[in-house]
Amino acid sequence: MAVLSVTNLSVVKRDRLLFKNVNFAVKQGSLLYVKGQNGAGKTSMLRVLAGLVAADCGEVYFTLQNIKDCREHYHQHLVYFGHKLGINLTLSAVENLQYWCKQHQVVISVDTIFYTLAQLNLVGLEDIPVSNLSAGQQRRVALARFWFKQDAKLWILDEPFTALDTQGIELLSKHITSFLRGGGAVVMTSHQALRIDYPTDELTLEYRI
């Protein structure tokens, strides 16, 4: 079944048409890789898919329901990772993740959060303000969310590999693959070549003037 499907999607940003009449469906266990050069509208597309921004034209459906009509249900099954990390720099990594889990009604123990952060190579950095961490470490903290939401059916990742080291990229790629094998659907963008050992659907956005 299609987890996410899109009909006749068009987005205009500051009088510039980013893309027009895009149609696609992302099925369970499939990965959609959105490609395109800078400014082609990849981020705008992902924000529309996540329901952060309304499309100028066209509809987005989550499991055949329009996301406008099932916003809460959709967001319960979605994890979104955007350009902005959603991490407060004054709070510590553990606090950030605890508050995120509570907001998203994810029940999780503090031990699990510590364990996940350890997996992400952040041992000893769990309870200092995130502002003291490096850019890559901050992204790791934000990426930890993908380990928590068990009932997620769709992940949307916008440039997840930026600022990560090779070990981090490998860790995330493996995690994405195991999510796909478990029947999840993933939509992502990346400027690096994907190192994911899994069949990939591609969608290329052209830069329009």
């Binding site: 952060l52 508050y99 509570k102 907001q103």
Partner: protein
């Protein structure tokens, strides 16, 4: 419910860590009010006449100073995006954030107000009237202010624009609040003014959360 409690706790914890930033509007409030006795002279009658107005104007200005904090950081670091993508209802979350903001940046001003009433020679009935108008009126400042912050948070420099948008809107509140204190100074009833301020507060309490949520969604584009 647990999600909303978590938002309240988070905002209170953040306010505590950024307490230096919170102190600034409070010090501004004290300084502005202490300038008046110096500028217009220590004559008790004059001070009593201008006192309620001065305290209210200073309260409005200093609440504007701290208002941007309400959504600015969350918007910039993306926490607001994540909040919108949770199944928590956005109007309820916005209301909780306004409550946290009122508790951390307006309530201290009200707690300081007896000291300032002393500076301005307010009589005891005047002080009680002032306190009641502040308690009923300042939540209104936060609620209406939050709508404007929601609208301007996407612009990088919303500071002065915020004041220009909001000051005219606060005029009715200012008129009724100062008129209540004036009535109190003449030993008259002032429940009518309080009732009007209360009605404005309840009206905005019912509708503002939806307006704030809408403004925040608009800011995402």
């Amino acid at each position: 419910m647990a999600a909303l409690m978590a938002i309240l706790k988070r905002d209170l914890a953040l306010a505590y860590r950024q307490r230096a930033e919170l102190m600034q509007p409070m010090l501004f409030f004290i300084l502005v009010i202490s300038l008046f006795p110096l500028a217009v002279g220590p004559e008790p009658k004059t001070l009593q006449l201008i006192g309620p107005g001065v305290i209210w104007v200073a309260a409005i200005l200093s609440s504007l100073l701290g208002l941007e904090r309400l959504f600015r950081d969350d918007f910039q670091d993306g926490s607001l995006e994540q909040l919108m993508l949770s199944s928590t209802s956005l109007p309820a979350a916005a209301l909780i954030k306004v409550v946290a903001h009122w508790l951390t940046s307006i309530l201290p001003l009200i707690i300081l107000s007896p000291l300032l009433a002393l500076f301005l020679h307010l009589s005891e009935p005047m002080y009680w009237a002032l306190l009641k108008t502040l308690l009923l009126g300042t939540p209104l400042l936060s609620l209406i202010g939050a709508i404007a912050v929601g609208l301007t948070v996407g612009l990088n420099r919303g500071g002065v624009l915020l004041a220009l948008l909001l000051l005219p809107v606060f005029i009715p509140l200012l008129i009724f609040a100062t008129s209540a204190v004036e009535s109190a100074s003449m030993q008259l009833q002032y429940s009518a003014q309080l009732a009007i301020i209360g009605a404005m507060f309840l009206f905005s309490l019912a509708l503002a959360p939806f307006a704030i949520a809408y403004a925040l969604r608009v800011s995402q584009t």
